[in-house]
């Protein structure tokens, strides 16, 4: 018959092209059709019986566990998506009871890798919940992407074909995309990203990650000027001198042009857009050019505030006195311990020079300590008191009691974050009352209250140049603000759950956000678009840090994992299981050689960044080679979880924490 012939041809075609699954599905359908015609009863039975999921999964599981050792771990990866989709399908069909028992029977298998997801999914008991819960929705809307080697894939197909496991086949067909690779099965160790998140969001991430990121540093920064001053003094060439004498600005431009030309001719070209990258000081004459100076330069997309001269002077002074840190020369760490907080300290922050320390408390207060004054009798309190009484409700550094700190009152909910401006004259605090407040540390008064978020604001950070700041909130958005406007300038929407932390890129053109949806995203400040998505964390991301050369980013999560990301490729450079508990804070040293991490397990750990990134550059071609960051030193504290870390411009590390005895 014509039909039959056609079918045969189709099958041959499919076979030739290697569309295995489609072929299989075709066969199935045909079989089913034939069986339907034979007996309607069996179909109706198999279609409605909730036990078919159980049986199907159970068989698949037994088969996977009994498979060859070399391919076993690859095949086991398939189980998790099948498992959760079986469960959700059962719920969707209304077999709550069966779904429950199914879930409990097999949950142990996946507890190790996916415990947090399982905890969330466990609560789903009705089809309505499937709609309501983000995780379930995104799981059902998207596909899993699983990497398998050729042989494992074949094994799986054979099994499915042989056993006629319709339900399993249906789920696998519908929910999983296989990335079949030739050759040997992958290593067990990279299991983490193999069953990476969900299909379309992964696609989305891929698509997003195609966009360009100009991770270079800002041109014309103080650091650059300083370096230039040094090199200028070295140079004896007439032209540069003449140019210098002529006009400072012009000279700088011409120099940059020249150097960029030189870069184009000689040095390896970076894949950056020409018009955006103006200068590449890559070919620096100075041999001990640090990592920072080697980074390309970019123009700011924002209009940046001017730095006052005296501030610039002090920065230059600091830069001159900076201690060089590397894996042999470790930093000194000054630890600020909060005593008698009665479990009320939610956040703390240190100003750039370490002289001011702020604590945000759950009783809505913000307290600022001037470390320079500690140890001295509080004489200034009376003058502050006058100030306070005139300011009324905003500020109350009343003279009674002679507090050693300045108390800022104004929030009406727990304060979740506080941040100093780069020069220490302003202070931002964010609270669960969904507002952000700007305080002046000079006047000791509240200046502005920014309202815009609808839910608690978890984090707020000043940009590296000041004036602009970014906030992250429970309402799943991050927002960009400037100090002079009470409305946000940009709203970054896209995260699937709370935005828990935010961090500026060093060139102020980007912000990074970490979220409870376990992703980290990079946003363009100018356009408000998401331009990178970093997938790999297994729990809520709590802290972020940008390397000073702008190329790398570190993120820490609830489980204590710290990951390093390459911003330009969007790939994870080195995952590491760093701590035993939440990583509250991360900080890069000023020349980017060290990474410090502070955790709830009462330690500060120092990691060697320079060597691990260098190693990466060497074997850049070898994809997927994960080299872990080297732990240089773990500094335990005396039962004090570390809340915040900051390197001063002189490379002194400041850390804060609240002494917690008993618990």
């Amino acid at each position: 018959m014509e039909d039959e012939e056609m079918e045969k041809k189709v099958q041959q075609y499919l076979h030739r092209k290697g569309f295995r699954l489609t072929e299989l599905a075709l066969q199935e359908e045909r079989n089913r059709l034939s069986t339907t015609s034979l007996s309607d009863v069996s179909l109706s039975r198999s279609d409605n019986d909730p036990a078919r999921y159980y049986d199907g999964y159970n068989k698949l599981r037994t088969w996977a566990y009994n498979s060859l050792d070399q391919y076993k771990h690859e095949l086991l990866r398939v189980l998790y998506p099948v498992f959760i989709h079986c469960f959700m399908d059962l719920v969707a069909e209304g077999h709550t009871q069966e779904a429950r028992s199914f879930f409990h029977t097999f949950r142990e298998d996946h507890e190790l890798m996916h415990s947090r997801d399982l905890q969330k999914l466990e609560g789903i008991l009705s089809p309505l919940h499937l709609e309501e819960m983000d995780l379930a929705r995104s799981l059902r809307e998207n596909k899993f992407r699983i990497k398998l080697c050729e042989y494992s894939y074949e094994l799986l197909l054979q099994y499915l074909q042989k056993t006629q496991a319709l339900v399993m086949l249906g789920i696998i067909n519908e929910r999983i995309i296989f990335e079949v690779s030739a050759g040997q099965p992958s290593l067990i160790s990279d299991d983490a990203d193999v069953v990476a998140l969900v299909g379309t969001s992964k696609d989305l991430a891929k698509q997003i990650n195609q966009k360009e990121v100009h991770w270079g540093l800002l041109e014309d920064s103080v650091e650059e000027r300083m370096e230039k001053a040094l090199s200028d003094s070295d140079k004896t060439e007439a032209e540069s001198k003449d140019a210098d004498a002529e006009d400072n600005n012009k000279a700088r431009n011409s120099l940059i042009k020249k150097s960029s030309e030189g870069g184009k001719q000689g040095g390896p070209l970076k894949k950056l857009k020409k018009d955006k990258v103006v200068g590449a000081t890559g070919k620096n004459n100075k041999s001990e050019a640090s990592m920072v100076s080697a980074a390309p330069r970019v123009k700011p997309e924002l209009t940046l505030p001017a730095t006052p001269v005296e501030v610039e002077q002090s920065i230059l002074e600091d830069l001159r006195n900076r201690a060089q840190l590397n894996n042999l020369a470790l930093p000194s760490v000054s630890f600020y311990t909060f005593l008698n907080t009665h479990n009320g300290l939610n956040c703390s922050s240190i100003s750039n020079d370490g002289s001011l320390v702020v604590g945000g408390f759950s009783d809505s207060s913000v307290k600022v300590w001037d470390m320079a004054k500690i140890g001295q009798p509080a004489k200034t309190s009376s003058s502050q008191g006058e100030n306070g009484s005139s300011q009324g409700e905003h500020l109350s550094s009343t003279s009674e009691g002679k507090r050693p700190y300045t108390l800022f009152q104004g929030h009406s909910g727990p304060v979740y974050s506080a941040a100093f401006s780069p020069f220490g004259d302003f202070l931002l605090s964010s609270s669960s009352d969904s507002t952000i407040r700007l305080w002046s540390t000079k006047l000791n008064a509240n200046l502005v209250c920014y309202k815009g978020h609808n839910y608690p604001v978890w984090d707020v950070q000043f940009s590296p140049v000041g004036h602009y700041f970014a906030s992250a909130s429970h309402d799943r958005t991050a927002r960009i603000w400037s100090m002079d406007k009470i409305q946000p300038l940009r709203i970054m929407a896209g995260h699937l759950a709370d935005v828990d932390c935010v961090q500026w890129h060093v060139n102020c053109n980007y912000i990074a956000t970490g979220s409870s949806d376990k992703t980290v995203r990079l946003w363009d400040v100018q356009t408000g678009e998401c331009i990178r998505m970093f997938i790999g964390h297994r729990s809520m991301v709590l802290s972020l840090a940008m390397s000073p050369d702008g190329r790398y980013m570190a993120s820490g999560d609830e489980d204590g994992t710290i990951m390093m990301w390459d911003l330009s490729t969007g790939r994870c450079v080195s995952p590491l299981a760093g701590h035993n508990s939440c990583v509250w804070s991360l900080a890069f040293s000023c020349e980017g050689a060290l990474l410090a991490s502070g955790s709830a397990d009462c330690t500060v750990k120092l990691w060697d960044v320079a060597s691990s990134t260098k190693a990466l550059k060497m074997d850049d071609t070898k994809a997927g080679s994960t080299n872990r960051l080297r732990l240089l030193k773990a500094l335990p504290t005396k039962s004090t979880p570390v809340y915040n870390l900051r390197f001063s411009r002189r490379n002194l590390l400041f850390a804060t924490g609240a002494l917690s005895l008993g618990s």
Partner: protein, 544 residues
Amino acid sequence: MSIVPKETIEVIAQSVGIPTLHADVSAALAPDVEYRLREIMQEAIKCMRHAKRTVLTADDVDSALTLRNVEPVYGFASGDPLRFKRAVGHKDLFYIDDREVDFKEIIEAPLPKAPLDTAVVAHWLAIEGVQPAIPENPPIDAISAPTENKRIEHVKDDGLPVDIKLPVKHILSRELQMYFDKIAELTMSRSNTPIFREALVSLSKDSGLHPLVPYFSYFIADEVTRSLADLPVLFALMRVVQSLLRNPHIHIEPYLHQLMPSMITCIVAKRLGHRLSDNHWELRDFSANLVASVCRKYGHVYHNLQIRLTKTLIHAFLDPHKALTQHYGAVQGISALGASAIRLLLLPNLETYMQLLDPELQLEKQKNEMKRKEAWRVYGALLCAAGKCLYERLKLFPGLLSASTQPALRSNKRVATNNPNKRKSSTDLSASQPPLKKMASDASMSSMDSAAPVAGTMDGFSAQLPNPIMMQASSSGQMADGIAAAGAIRRGQEGNHHAQRVSTVLRQAWKEDQGAGHLLASLHDVFGEGIFSFIQPPEISFFL
């Protein structure tokens, strides 16, 4: 299917004024309630994380409720994490231990102290990557092993990697060196000054001394062997050891093997001090206590520590050729280890030893007064040790008394009514007991007829207490203890018919008690009435 059962929903419905809830409604609500609970907890955990905590508090749940626009639950706010108690008989049911408080109590109570205000203190967590040993930092646990690169440096020039274990270069800071020199000087020459006392306090408290421990242990071992004749120095050295052992920041276990010989030397050495008048007894006692404390502290880590120690001591004790001073030290050392050590090591050898010691004690046989004095010392030590052991045994019984009263009574009855076979076997047992034990047990039974209402309560005591009392009575009447024993046996025979009523339940107790009774009797054999001073007065008065 849901962890919230339907019944709970019904109960809640009743509590808000819906007396009859349709079964379908509660069945549909139950899963949703569970889902909402989980949702709230998820939000609460977020709030907890942002408050930088790892323990969930009631406040977090309140914040989560506010986030979801639900009225928070009032009245549970607490700054501290709640303390849960496990409900008895349930594996996974917990409750908060909430005391009922009287208003009056609260009102009348003096105002509590105002909580201290928040403060910030600064310290150096690390200086150029090295943690300074200051009280603000946790104690450094152990000296790290020499780093690898050191070894690499010493690879020979010809390129052949020769694996030579180099002497570890241990760098000691100048401050620590000065500290060590000062302590050494004080110990050697000025051990009776107040400064030395201060130094000892410092040794037992300072956290940064760990690097010095090997030096101290070497110093102590060295000086003990060198200055055996100098009693004050030895004493000072032992004090130093004591302080080091007390210091909680020092990890002294690796050096114990160096310190133990010195300490044992100070217990069992033949001569300590060069003059006859030197009070080396005190040093021996002190060192014995020190060694015992080491055994208590580290015995669980080094299980052969105590075995080796006791071997040394018992060897010194049992060798008749050793000097009496050595015997004395051995006795003190063993007795410091506790009652069980005395019972196991000293008591079995007591009688033979006493035969050895007896001639030394008597004026007519031992003419050397010095020797005699020493012998009396040893005798005293033995008496003390035996008494201590006895005292410990006796101390056990008040507990036995109160705890066993009820069950003993009950089981007593049961046995008495319907177990003739057992009764018989028990009498057999008592018949087959060695005479001395029998005496003790019979004696106890005899006491029972006079104190019938507390029959059950007696069993703990009766085993050995009638004996001492009778003995006391007899000794006060200037009689030999043999007569007392005879008296006891006589009384025991009188009370023989009571034996059938008691006994099976007592069997377990007997084993211990007979031991004690036996012990006392034999000790009395050896020491006479001297031993009575170790019996607790309350027990005696109970019977008087």
